[in-house]
Protein backbone atom coordinates (compact mmCIF):
# COMPACT_ATOMS: atom_id res chain seq x y z
CA UNK A 1 0.00 0.00 0.00
CA UNK A 2 1.28 3.37 -0.92
CA UNK A 3 2.00 5.20 2.25
CA UNK A 4 1.03 8.46 0.64
CA UNK A 5 -2.44 7.16 0.14
CA UNK A 6 -2.93 6.76 3.85
CA UNK A 7 -2.63 10.36 4.85
CA UNK A 8 0.86 9.83 6.22
CA UNK A 9 1.02 13.44 7.40
CA UNK A 10 -0.96 12.59 10.42
CA UNK A 11 -0.51 15.97 12.05
CA UNK A 12 -0.39 18.61 9.34
CA UNK A 13 1.52 21.77 10.09
CA UNK A 14 -1.42 24.07 9.77
CA UNK A 15 -3.45 22.17 12.31
CA UNK A 16 -2.92 22.54 16.02
CA UNK A 17 -1.30 19.44 17.32
CA UNK A 18 -2.98 16.94 19.57
CA UNK A 19 -2.99 17.85 23.20
CA UNK A 20 -0.60 15.76 25.21
CA UNK A 21 -2.35 16.56 28.43
CA UNK A 22 -5.94 17.20 29.25
CA UNK A 23 -6.41 20.66 27.80
CA UNK A 24 -8.55 23.38 29.24
CA UNK A 25 -10.81 24.00 26.30
CA UNK A 26 -13.81 26.15 25.83
CA UNK A 27 -16.04 26.67 22.88
CA UNK A 28 -14.39 29.91 21.82
CA UNK A 29 -10.94 28.32 21.85
CA UNK A 30 -12.07 25.38 19.78
CA UNK A 31 -13.86 27.71 17.39
CA UNK A 32 -10.80 29.88 16.84
CA UNK A 33 -8.48 26.96 16.35
CA UNK A 34 -10.60 24.64 14.26
CA UNK A 35 -13.43 26.55 12.63
CA UNK A 36 -11.79 26.67 9.23
CA UNK A 37 -11.02 22.97 9.20
CA UNK A 38 -14.50 22.01 10.29
CA UNK A 39 -15.85 24.28 7.56
CA UNK A 40 -13.63 22.60 4.95
CA UNK A 41 -14.42 19.15 6.21
CA UNK A 42 -18.18 19.70 6.08
CA UNK A 43 -17.97 21.19 2.61
CA UNK A 44 -15.77 18.41 1.29
CA UNK A 45 -18.14 15.88 2.77
CA UNK A 46 -20.98 17.20 0.68
CA UNK A 47 -22.85 19.67 2.87
CA UNK A 48 -24.43 22.22 0.56
CA UNK A 49 -23.29 25.80 0.84
CA UNK A 50 -26.82 26.88 1.77
CA UNK A 51 -26.77 24.46 4.70
CA UNK A 52 -23.18 25.00 5.73
CA UNK A 53 -23.84 27.53 8.46
CA UNK A 54 -26.53 25.35 10.01
CA UNK A 55 -24.21 22.36 9.89
CA UNK A 56 -21.42 24.36 11.49
CA UNK A 57 -23.72 25.44 14.25
CA UNK A 58 -24.76 21.86 14.87
CA UNK A 59 -21.14 20.77 15.12
CA UNK A 60 -20.30 23.43 17.66
CA UNK A 61 -23.45 22.77 19.68
CA UNK A 62 -22.29 19.19 20.07
CA UNK A 63 -18.79 20.41 20.86
CA UNK A 64 -20.14 22.67 23.58
CA UNK A 65 -22.03 19.82 25.18
CA UNK A 66 -19.22 17.32 24.99
CA UNK A 67 -16.36 19.52 26.10
CA UNK A 68 -16.67 18.39 29.75
CA UNK A 69 -16.14 14.82 28.59
CA UNK A 70 -13.11 15.61 26.49
CA UNK A 71 -10.09 14.47 28.44
CA UNK A 72 -7.38 15.01 25.86
CA UNK A 73 -6.73 11.36 25.17
CA UNK A 74 -7.68 11.78 21.55
CA UNK A 75 -6.56 14.62 19.33
CA UNK A 76 -9.02 17.47 19.29
CA UNK A 77 -9.24 17.37 15.53
CA UNK A 78 -10.02 13.65 15.53
CA UNK A 79 -12.79 14.32 17.97
CA UNK A 80 -14.08 17.22 15.90
CA UNK A 81 -13.99 15.35 12.63
CA UNK A 82 -15.94 12.49 14.17
CA UNK A 83 -18.65 14.96 15.08
CA UNK A 84 -18.48 16.73 11.73
CA UNK A 85 -18.65 13.45 9.86
CA UNK A 86 -21.93 12.50 11.49
CA UNK A 87 -23.42 15.94 11.06
CA UNK A 88 -22.47 15.85 7.37
CA UNK A 89 -24.13 12.46 6.96
CA UNK A 90 -27.33 13.82 8.40
CA UNK A 91 -27.29 16.80 6.04
CA UNK A 92 -26.59 14.60 3.03
CA UNK A 93 -29.49 12.39 4.00
CA UNK A 94 -31.76 15.37 4.33
CA UNK A 95 -30.61 16.74 0.98
CA UNK A 96 -31.55 13.46 -0.66
CA UNK A 97 -35.02 13.53 0.85
CA UNK A 98 -35.83 17.13 0.12
CA UNK A 99 -36.95 18.38 -3.27
CA UNK A 100 -34.07 19.80 -5.23
CA UNK A 101 -34.23 23.51 -5.79
CA UNK A 102 -32.41 25.23 -8.61
CA UNK A 103 -29.93 26.66 -6.14
CA UNK A 104 -29.29 23.26 -4.63
CA UNK A 105 -28.90 21.76 -8.08
CA UNK A 106 -26.24 24.32 -8.86
CA UNK A 107 -24.43 23.48 -5.67
CA UNK A 108 -24.62 19.78 -6.41
CA UNK A 109 -22.87 20.41 -9.70
CA UNK A 110 -19.60 22.05 -8.72
CA UNK A 111 -18.90 22.88 -12.34
CA UNK A 112 -21.72 25.38 -12.21
CA UNK A 113 -20.79 26.87 -8.88
CA UNK A 114 -18.67 29.93 -8.48
CA UNK A 115 -15.27 29.26 -6.98
CA UNK A 116 -14.62 30.34 -3.41
CA UNK A 117 -13.18 33.77 -2.90
CA UNK A 118 -10.30 32.35 -0.88
CA UNK A 119 -9.01 30.49 -3.93
CA UNK A 120 -7.43 33.19 -5.99
CA UNK A 121 -5.62 31.79 -8.96
CA UNK A 122 -7.53 30.67 -11.96
CA UNK A 123 -5.67 27.39 -12.18
CA UNK A 124 -6.34 26.73 -8.56
CA UNK A 125 -10.02 27.41 -9.12
CA UNK A 126 -10.16 25.03 -12.03
CA UNK A 127 -8.46 22.32 -10.04
CA UNK A 128 -10.81 22.86 -7.16
CA UNK A 129 -13.84 22.59 -9.42
CA UNK A 130 -12.55 19.37 -10.92
CA UNK A 131 -11.69 17.96 -7.52
CA UNK A 132 -15.07 18.83 -6.06
CA UNK A 133 -16.83 17.26 -8.99
CA UNK A 134 -14.76 14.14 -8.66
CA UNK A 135 -15.51 14.05 -4.94
CA UNK A 136 -19.21 14.40 -5.62
CA UNK A 137 -19.06 11.36 -7.88
CA UNK A 138 -17.85 9.10 -5.06
CA UNK A 139 -20.27 7.19 -2.92
CA UNK A 140 -20.53 8.22 0.70
CA UNK A 141 -18.10 5.66 2.10
CA UNK A 142 -15.40 6.46 -0.40
CA UNK A 143 -15.97 10.16 -0.14
CA UNK A 144 -15.64 10.18 3.62
CA UNK A 145 -12.44 8.21 3.72
CA UNK A 146 -10.93 10.16 0.84
CA UNK A 147 -11.67 13.47 2.56
CA UNK A 148 -10.34 12.33 5.90
CA UNK A 149 -7.18 10.87 4.39
CA UNK A 150 -6.30 13.15 1.52
CA UNK A 151 -7.85 16.44 2.53
CA UNK A 152 -7.76 16.35 6.30
CA UNK A 153 -4.68 14.13 6.29
CA UNK A 154 -5.65 11.82 9.07
CA UNK A 155 -3.73 8.66 9.75
CA UNK A 156 -5.23 5.24 9.10
CA UNK A 157 -5.72 4.47 12.83
CA UNK A 158 -7.41 7.82 13.31
CA UNK A 159 -9.74 7.11 10.43
CA UNK A 160 -10.52 3.68 11.77
CA UNK A 161 -11.47 5.32 15.03
CA UNK A 162 -13.57 8.06 13.49
CA UNK A 163 -15.33 5.81 10.99
CA UNK A 164 -15.57 2.89 13.38
CA UNK A 165 -14.30 0.41 10.86
CA UNK A 166 -11.41 -2.07 11.00
CA UNK A 167 -7.99 -0.88 9.95
CA UNK A 168 -7.89 -3.25 7.00
CA UNK A 169 -11.15 -1.80 5.77
CA UNK A 170 -9.60 1.63 5.96
CA UNK A 171 -6.82 0.54 3.65
CA UNK A 172 -9.01 -1.23 1.14
CA UNK A 173 -11.67 1.46 1.09
CA UNK A 174 -9.14 4.23 0.66
CA UNK A 175 -7.47 2.40 -2.19
CA UNK A 176 -10.80 2.07 -3.94
CA UNK A 177 -11.63 5.69 -3.25
CA UNK A 178 -8.41 6.92 -4.75
CA UNK A 179 -8.88 4.81 -7.84
CA UNK A 180 -12.39 6.14 -8.28
CA UNK A 181 -11.28 9.71 -7.69
CA UNK A 182 -8.43 9.43 -10.16
CA UNK A 183 -10.66 7.85 -12.77
CA UNK A 184 -13.18 10.64 -12.41
CA UNK A 185 -10.50 13.30 -12.65
CA UNK A 186 -9.20 11.67 -15.82
CA UNK A 187 -12.66 11.53 -17.29
CA UNK A 188 -13.46 15.13 -16.45
CA UNK A 189 -10.21 16.42 -17.87
CA UNK A 190 -10.74 14.48 -21.07
CA UNK A 191 -14.16 16.06 -21.38
CA UNK A 192 -12.84 19.55 -20.71
CA UNK A 193 -10.14 19.11 -23.36
CA UNK A 194 -12.53 17.88 -25.97
CA UNK A 195 -14.88 20.79 -25.33
CA UNK A 196 -13.97 23.86 -27.39
Amino acid sequence: MNAGALGRRAVPRQLPSAQAQAPVLDLATVYEAYFRYVWRCLRSLGVRDAQLEDALQDVFIVVQRRLPEFDGRAAVRTWLYAIALRIARKYRERARREPTSLEAAREDDPELSAPQASVESEHQSERLLLARRALASLDDDKREIFVLARVEQMSAPEMANVLRIPLNTVYSRLRAARLAFDAEITRLRAISRSTP
Partner: protein
Protein backbone atom coordinates in the same frame (compact mmCIF):
# COMPACT_ATOMS: atom_id res chain seq x y z
CA UNK B 1 -3.11 13.14 -19.35
CA UNK B 2 -0.91 11.26 -17.03
CA UNK B 3 -2.25 11.40 -13.48
CA UNK B 4 0.66 10.41 -11.35
CA UNK B 5 0.88 11.03 -7.63
CA UNK B 6 2.16 14.55 -8.04
CA UNK B 7 -0.64 15.41 -10.39
CA UNK B 8 -3.12 13.94 -7.93
CA UNK B 9 -1.69 15.99 -5.14
CA UNK B 10 -2.49 19.12 -7.12
CA UNK B 11 -6.16 18.36 -6.80
CA UNK B 12 -5.82 17.34 -3.20
CA UNK B 13 -3.96 20.54 -2.49
CA UNK B 14 -6.76 22.46 -4.11
CA UNK B 15 -9.22 20.77 -1.79
CA UNK B 16 -7.03 21.45 1.21
CA UNK B 17 -6.74 25.09 0.25
CA UNK B 18 -10.50 25.41 0.07
CA UNK B 19 -10.78 27.22 3.38
CA UNK B 20 -13.06 30.05 4.45
CA UNK B 21 -11.72 33.52 4.78
CA UNK B 22 -10.96 35.10 8.13
CA UNK B 23 -13.81 37.50 7.46
CA UNK B 24 -16.16 34.56 7.12
CA UNK B 25 -14.89 33.14 10.38
CA UNK B 26 -15.39 36.48 12.11
CA UNK B 27 -18.84 36.89 10.62
CA UNK B 28 -20.06 33.55 11.93
CA UNK B 29 -18.36 33.71 15.33
CA UNK B 30 -21.03 35.56 17.33
CA UNK B 31 -23.85 33.54 15.87
CA UNK B 32 -22.30 30.14 16.39
CA UNK B 33 -20.84 30.84 19.81
CA UNK B 34 -24.10 32.32 21.09
CA UNK B 35 -26.15 29.45 19.75
CA UNK B 36 -23.61 26.94 20.97
CA UNK B 37 -23.70 28.23 24.51
CA UNK B 38 -27.45 28.76 24.72
CA UNK B 39 -28.69 25.67 22.94
CA UNK B 40 -25.78 23.62 24.17
CA UNK B 41 -26.69 24.36 27.74
CA UNK B 42 -30.38 23.71 27.35
CA UNK B 43 -30.56 20.92 24.84
CA UNK B 44 -27.10 19.83 23.89
CA UNK B 45 -27.08 16.67 25.91
CA UNK B 46 -29.87 15.13 23.92
CA UNK B 47 -28.09 16.24 20.80
CA UNK B 48 -24.87 14.67 21.94
CA UNK B 49 -26.49 11.31 22.20
CA UNK B 50 -28.00 11.78 18.80
CA UNK B 51 -24.87 13.03 17.16
CA UNK B 52 -22.76 10.20 18.43
CA UNK B 53 -24.99 7.60 16.89
CA UNK B 54 -24.57 6.40 13.36
CA UNK B 55 -28.22 7.01 12.55
CA UNK B 56 -29.75 10.42 12.75
CA UNK B 57 -33.17 9.38 11.51
CA UNK B 58 -35.57 10.66 14.13
CA UNK B 59 -33.18 12.18 16.57
CA UNK B 60 -33.81 15.34 18.47
CA UNK B 61 -30.78 16.84 16.81
CA UNK B 62 -32.17 16.40 13.34
CA UNK B 63 -35.40 18.00 14.40
CA UNK B 64 -33.56 20.85 15.99
CA UNK B 65 -31.37 21.28 12.97
CA UNK B 66 -34.35 21.30 10.68
CA UNK B 67 -35.44 24.57 12.20
CA UNK B 68 -34.61 27.82 10.48
CA UNK B 69 -32.08 30.21 11.98
CA UNK B 70 -34.66 32.52 13.52
CA UNK B 71 -36.48 29.55 14.98
CA UNK B 72 -33.27 28.17 16.45
CA UNK B 73 -32.34 31.44 18.07
CA UNK B 74 -35.87 31.92 19.37
CA UNK B 75 -35.90 28.44 20.78
CA UNK B 76 -32.55 29.01 22.41
CA UNK B 77 -33.81 32.20 24.01
CA UNK B 78 -37.00 30.58 25.29
CA UNK B 79 -35.27 27.59 26.77
CA UNK B 80 -32.33 29.42 28.23
CA UNK B 81 -34.35 32.28 29.72
CA UNK B 82 -35.57 30.36 32.79
CA UNK B 83 -32.04 29.23 33.53
CA UNK B 84 -30.57 32.66 33.02
CA UNK B 85 -33.27 34.29 35.14
CA UNK B 86 -32.77 32.08 38.18
CA UNK B 87 -30.38 34.42 39.99
CA UNK B 88 -32.71 37.37 39.39
CA UNK B 89 -35.92 35.67 40.43
CA UNK B 90 -34.48 33.96 43.45
CA UNK B 91 -32.31 36.63 44.97
CA UNK B 92 -32.00 35.14 48.50
CA UNK B 93 -29.83 32.30 47.19
CA UNK B 94 -28.03 34.18 44.48
CA UNK B 95 -24.73 32.97 45.82
CA UNK B 96 -25.82 29.36 45.60
CA UNK B 97 -27.18 29.05 42.10
CA UNK B 98 -26.03 25.52 41.72
CA UNK B 99 -27.78 24.31 44.82
CA UNK B 100 -30.91 26.27 44.05
CA UNK B 101 -31.24 24.86 40.55
CA UNK B 102 -30.84 21.31 41.72
CA UNK B 103 -33.33 21.80 44.51
CA UNK B 104 -35.75 23.50 42.15
CA UNK B 105 -36.07 20.36 40.13
CA UNK B 106 -36.51 18.21 43.18
CA UNK B 107 -39.14 20.54 44.56
CA UNK B 108 -40.97 20.58 41.26
CA UNK B 109 -41.15 16.82 41.14
CA UNK B 110 -42.34 16.60 44.71
CA UNK B 111 -44.90 19.32 44.15
CA UNK B 112 -46.27 17.50 41.16
CA UNK B 113 -46.57 14.36 43.21
CA UNK B 114 -48.51 16.40 45.71
CA UNK B 115 -50.78 17.64 42.95
CA UNK B 116 -51.45 14.10 41.87
CA UNK B 117 -52.44 13.10 45.34
CA UNK B 118 -54.64 16.19 45.60
CA UNK B 119 -53.05 16.88 48.93
CA UNK B 120 -51.43 20.30 48.92
CA UNK B 121 -50.33 19.89 52.50
CA UNK B 122 -47.89 17.28 51.32
CA UNK B 123 -45.67 20.01 49.94
CA UNK B 124 -43.11 20.66 52.59
CA UNK B 125 -42.53 24.16 53.74
CA UNK B 126 -38.81 23.95 53.11
CA UNK B 127 -39.43 23.45 49.40
CA UNK B 128 -41.88 26.29 49.01
CA UNK B 129 -39.51 28.98 47.73
CA UNK B 130 -38.28 26.80 44.92
CA UNK B 131 -41.79 25.79 43.96
CA UNK B 132 -42.93 29.37 43.86
CA UNK B 133 -39.96 30.19 41.68
CA UNK B 134 -40.83 27.63 39.05
CA UNK B 135 -44.50 28.52 38.90
CA UNK B 136 -44.91 32.05 40.13
CA UNK B 137 -48.29 33.37 41.12
CA UNK B 138 -49.59 36.29 39.03
CA UNK B 139 -49.88 38.53 42.08
CA UNK B 140 -46.58 39.60 43.59
CA UNK B 141 -45.54 37.39 46.43
CA UNK B 142 -43.88 38.81 49.51
CA UNK B 143 -40.38 37.92 50.50
CA UNK B 144 -40.22 34.26 51.40
CA UNK B 145 -40.67 34.60 55.11
CA UNK B 146 -40.88 31.08 56.54
CA UNK B 147 -44.20 31.68 58.30
CA UNK B 148 -45.88 32.94 55.14
CA UNK B 149 -44.39 30.29 53.00
CA UNK B 150 -45.91 27.51 55.00
CA UNK B 151 -49.36 28.86 54.43
CA UNK B 152 -48.96 29.94 50.84
CA UNK B 153 -46.72 27.38 49.32
CA UNK B 154 -49.28 24.71 48.44
CA UNK B 155 -51.54 27.29 46.81
CA UNK B 156 -48.71 28.69 44.76
CA UNK B 157 -47.55 25.36 43.55
CA UNK B 158 -50.76 23.55 42.85
CA UNK B 159 -52.66 26.39 41.21
CA UNK B 160 -50.01 26.70 38.55
CA UNK B 161 -49.38 23.07 37.88
CA UNK B 162 -50.99 21.03 35.12
CA UNK B 163 -53.98 18.90 36.03
CA UNK B 164 -53.31 15.56 37.70
CA UNK B 165 -54.62 13.75 34.66
CA UNK B 166 -52.03 15.41 32.49
CA UNK B 167 -49.27 14.52 34.90
CA UNK B 168 -50.15 10.89 35.52
CA UNK B 169 -49.41 8.79 32.46
CA UNK B 170 -49.62 5.53 34.37
CA UNK B 171 -51.34 4.26 37.50
CA UNK B 172 -48.02 3.72 39.22
CA UNK B 173 -46.95 7.30 38.69
CA UNK B 174 -48.40 8.75 41.84
CA UNK B 175 -46.04 6.93 44.16
CA UNK B 176 -42.90 7.35 42.18
CA UNK B 177 -41.51 10.80 41.70
CA UNK B 178 -39.34 9.65 38.86
CA UNK B 179 -42.27 8.80 36.69
CA UNK B 180 -43.66 12.28 36.80
CA UNK B 181 -40.58 14.00 35.52
CA UNK B 182 -40.96 16.14 32.41
CA UNK B 183 -41.23 14.44 29.06
CA UNK B 184 -37.91 13.41 27.59
CA UNK B 185 -38.05 15.07 24.20
CA UNK B 186 -40.11 18.17 23.84
CA UNK B 187 -39.42 18.10 20.12
CA UNK B 188 -41.08 14.76 19.77
CA UNK B 189 -44.45 15.97 21.02
CA UNK B 190 -47.20 16.42 18.52
CA UNK B 191 -48.41 19.49 20.34
CA UNK B 192 -46.01 22.07 21.75
CA UNK B 193 -45.62 22.09 25.54
CA UNK B 194 -47.02 24.93 27.55
CA UNK B 195 -44.78 27.69 28.73
CA UNK B 196 -44.88 26.37 32.25
CA UNK B 197 -43.92 22.95 31.02
CA UNK B 198 -41.06 24.39 29.01
CA UNK B 199 -39.78 26.29 32.00
CA UNK B 200 -39.98 23.23 34.17
CA UNK B 201 -38.12 21.13 31.62
CA UNK B 202 -35.44 23.75 31.27
CA UNK B 203 -35.03 23.99 35.03
CA UNK B 204 -34.80 20.23 35.41
CA UNK B 205 -32.39 20.02 32.54
CA UNK B 206 -30.28 22.76 34.05
CA UNK B 207 -30.06 20.84 37.29
CA UNK B 208 -29.20 17.64 35.47
CA UNK B 209 -26.61 19.43 33.41
CA UNK B 210 -24.99 20.91 36.46
CA UNK B 211 -24.73 17.54 38.14
CA UNK B 212 -23.28 15.71 35.18
CA UNK B 213 -20.96 18.50 34.14
CA UNK B 214 -19.50 18.38 37.62
CA UNK B 215 -19.30 14.61 37.41
CA UNK B 216 -17.39 14.71 34.14
CA UNK B 217 -15.16 17.45 35.44
CA UNK B 218 -14.39 15.31 38.48
CA UNK B 219 -13.66 12.37 36.20
CA UNK B 220 -11.30 14.46 34.14
CA UNK B 221 -9.59 15.60 37.33
CA UNK B 222 -9.26 12.04 38.56
CA UNK B 223 -11.59 12.58 41.48
CA UNK B 224 -13.46 9.33 41.15
CA UNK B 225 -15.24 9.42 44.47
CA UNK B 226 -16.79 12.79 43.74
CA UNK B 227 -17.70 11.70 40.25
CA UNK B 228 -19.32 8.54 41.54
CA UNK B 229 -21.25 10.48 44.16
CA UNK B 230 -22.52 12.95 41.59
CA UNK B 231 -23.52 10.19 39.21
CA UNK B 232 -25.35 8.44 42.03
CA UNK B 233 -27.06 11.67 42.98
CA UNK B 234 -28.21 12.16 39.41
CA UNK B 235 -29.51 8.60 39.31
CA UNK B 236 -31.40 9.16 42.52
CA UNK B 237 -32.90 12.51 41.58
CA UNK B 238 -33.46 11.88 37.89
CA UNK B 239 -33.72 8.14 37.29
CA UNK B 240 -35.50 8.78 34.00
CA UNK B 241 -33.97 12.19 33.34
CA UNK B 242 -33.17 13.75 30.03
CA UNK B 243 -29.49 13.10 30.51
CA UNK B 244 -29.66 9.51 31.61
CA UNK B 245 -27.58 8.46 28.61
CA UNK B 246 -24.91 10.89 29.67
CA UNK B 247 -25.10 9.46 33.17
CA UNK B 248 -24.62 5.95 31.84
CA UNK B 249 -21.66 7.14 29.85
CA UNK B 250 -20.11 8.57 32.98
CA UNK B 251 -20.87 5.36 34.79
CA UNK B 252 -19.23 3.35 32.04
CA UNK B 253 -16.14 5.48 32.27
CA UNK B 254 -16.04 5.00 35.99
CA UNK B 255 -16.24 1.24 35.57
CA UNK B 256 -13.83 1.04 32.66
CA UNK B 257 -11.26 3.28 34.24
CA UNK B 258 -10.99 2.09 37.83
CA UNK B 259 -7.74 3.91 38.45
CA UNK B 260 -9.02 7.18 37.15
CA UNK B 261 -6.31 7.49 34.57
Amino acid sequence: MNLDDDDDSVFEQALRADLPSIAEQNRLRPRILAAGVAVGTALGSTNVAAATQASFGASALSKLSALSWPAKLGLAAVLSAPVAALPLVYAPVRGADLVSQVRTSAATVRARSAANALSPSNVRASEAPQTAQVAPEPTPAPAPEPANVIARAPVLAVSNLPTPAALAPSPAASDNASTVQPAVATFGHESPPSEVEAQRSASTLAAETQLLDRAFAALAAGDRSTAAALVAEHARRFPNGLLRQERERARTRLAADPKGE
